[in-house]
Symmetry: C2
């Protein structure tokens, strides 16, 4: 019988062997995270969480998205919330969680405060993100289905481990921080559609920072509180699936994290990717038929939205936008004005959407009838692995659009060639 | 069909009608809380939580047990943890939670920061403590049995409401803060016996302070996240028992809160009270027979403890201590030395303990055989209501023992005659 906590702790505290794929994907996630965090810094939820933390004053231990600095716990809360404000950050589908927004704010805050080199930050972040995915798999799909937000719950354990790694935890401290985090981790899907969703990411990051700092200062907790009979798994409808440990230390599940390339509901992405493959341009379009998994029909099939927010949940609108050259990667492209554009409205009327049980949730099928009578069709699955070079190109292009090519290139260069965590932290705003 | 959240919000935001009993018991709980918080300020867990928060610096918004001041969220975390460190604070048996340690740190932090009068603080505290009990009853005993620590979970909602009352929340803001707290509230009984137990109280206090400040700044959350189909109750094995609303606004369940008068395991208290009624003195004792509920036999029936900690879980030792004039109200009375006292050992050998199914968990029976051949017997139930004047005498006597009669009297006078919250806050140390 394997001991889940002890296995995770041994992994998180011990020597690790990473792959180039895992290292590069981690760096891409950091770049992506900085870009979406900067892009989200002026959202209403960002202003509110920043105000609360900045009102407290305190030591400038760690930079904040949107400017200024705060103590580590406050910075983790702010940066987790702000970077999830646009819901444009990375996603891991194995457990359905957003690793970067929960783990990176904790890891970066501690690394900046302790003036560590980027290599240490990236290693701790990778270990933390892998931990969050493994905890998520151990809790299982039922934990998510019943209402827990894995980004918040599993994320807190990942954040704690990442912070603990930077603080030099041994196996016993790792076990202790996993146990202590069990009494602090929280977050409900009931907040989806409200400011509470990005807050959940901030909660995970700040919870992990807090529990790691406490253990660092000598706090003694029940190390069995994650998996024991009255532990987090048992109380939070977890499956305790020990296959979550398979390959731990050899395989990096984090390698298959997905980055978002469109600033809209994830349910629309497979269709947008299929449209991209078909290279659709409005003047050539006679009609388009979209097929998607039935669950998305009630989520993101608004037929004639009139607001920018509505456009983010509308197959017909986003496909029309793409065919008309609007950049779906830019949050600013989704406006009330675009919904009123007569060319959008006209093309939208030539697009139909239907449910297809044979497609998975990550698949979509597009059938294009061109004015010249030619028919083209494409099916895209978001789970299809992307080559590392394609992924690098697209993440860097996304970051360049969000924060400018110069800044995106500078951050990427820093991540690939080394430097100090505080230099990266300064890039949250500067 | 009553709406639980809306009913609580209307109660918490509306005009209220208190009873003199409720007001006086609230003041007694505040005095008791200050006394046990001061007494616990040097415990190891207190030093650790204080260090973490003080390392952050920040504005001196609220005083801390043990000295210094911190921003409100940090002060709530510290003061909740410190005041529960000795496990000597008040308990409400309806839902099995510790109201004061979860709610008062939040209420006092906001009241001090906003320079409010004590009457406002006491009203907000009473509303918050009543809310925590009602939420606890709504969640039900199953929520506690499966592993959730009501002090932490229900307590967070009470803390949020108390803070929100001081911040002037209307009904919609109260609904919003209850919904937001649903994604933040957490705490497991798995931490019992570790530093994690007092930390859970600090978590509740800081969670409520944080969510109230966010709503104060305009945060919009799902107001249905406490009781909705994917809400806190549904996900945390709550019973959704709407009878928890019975009498809300007319009756104050908080009036029946229990104060602890012995600094040891709660399972020993009924026996100590029975011994107190019998006025037992060692020179007169031939033998003593204690009967108690079977559940306590594995919790606090150490027969021959050798340490102060062990004495706190030993019927024979604490009854012997009381008969020999050791003050069981003082945490400092429970020492390794007392366990080695030959008179304690000798008397202990004349005391027997047995389980009795006919007794409830709050009852104990003592049968005394005196050397003069006279037999006396007493049964005590901790749930037996205590007259208000007896309660005042005993809480004030306890506080006087813990922090000195002058300080206890000064705090009591302030609570009964009025003043400012910041003057009370200054009494956390000075």
């Amino acid at each position: 019988m394997k001991d889940f906590t002890a296995s995770l702790a041994a992994f998180a505290a011990g020597p690790i062997s990473t792959t180039s794929q895992a290292r590069i994907v981690t760096s891409l996630s950091v770049l992506d995270w900085v870009a979406v965090g900067r892009a989200g810094a002026n959202e209403p939820v960002s202003s509110i969480i920043r105000k609360m933390v900045l009102d407290e004053g305190g030591k400038a231990q760690a930079h904040l998205f949107g400017g200024d600095a705060a103590p580590m716990r406050g910075a983790a809360l702010v940066n987790g919330t702000v970077s999830h404000a646009l819901d444009y950050d990375d996603t891991h589908f194995a457990h359905i969680g957003h690793p970067s927004v929960a783990i990176l704010p904790a890891a970066l805050a501690v690394a900046e405060w302790d003036d560590r080199i980027l290599v240490d930050l990236l290693e701790a972040a990778l270990i933390g993100m892998e931990t969050s995915i493994r905890v998520g798999l151990w809790l299982g799909r039922g934990h998510y289905q019943v209402g827990f937000h894995q980004t918040a719950t599993s994320g807190a354990f990942g954040a704690a481990v990442a912070a603990g790694r930077l603080l030099g935890f041994d196996i016993n401290q790792m076990r202790s921080v996993l146990g202590l985090t069990a009494t602090r981790a929280a977050g409900l899907k009931a907040q989806f559609g409200t400011m509470g969703k990005p807050y959940n990411a901030g909660l995970a990051a700040s919870a992990g920072t807090e529990t790691a700092l406490l253990v660092h200062h000598g706090f003694e907790a029940n190390a069995d509180a994650l998996e024991g009979p009255f532990g987090f798994g048992a109380t939070h409808q977890g499956a305790s699936d020990l296959s979550a440990l398979d390959g731990l230390g050899d395989e990096w599940l984090f390698e298959s994290v997905s980055h978002k390339f469109h600033a809209c509901c994830h349910g629309l992405h497979a269709a947008l990717e299929a449209a991209r493959e078909l290279d659709i341009a409005e003047p050539e379009v006679a009609e388009i038929k979209i097929k998607t998994h039935p669950r998305w029909m009630s989520v993101c099939n608004q037929l004639t939205p009139e607001t920018g927010l509505g456009a983010k949940f509308s197959y017909r609108t986003v496909i029309a936008m793409q065919a008309l050259g609007y950049d779906t990667a830019l949050p600013g492209s989704y406006t009330d004005k675009v919904c009123a554009d007569p060319r959008i409205k006209s093309l939208r009327d030539r697009i139909t959407v239907e449910a297809d049980e044979s497609l998975s949730e990550t698949q979509a099928n597009l059938a294009l009838l061109r004015r010249d009578g030619i028919r083209r069709e494409a099916t895209h699955d978001l789970l299809t692995p992307m080559s590392l070079s394609d992924r690098e190109d697209r993440v860097r292009a996304k970051a360049a659009k969000l924060i400018g090519a110069d800044k995106a290139d500078a951050i990427w260069s820093m991540l690939r060639t080394g430097g100090r965590a505080r230099d990266l932290a300064a890039r949250l705003t500067g």
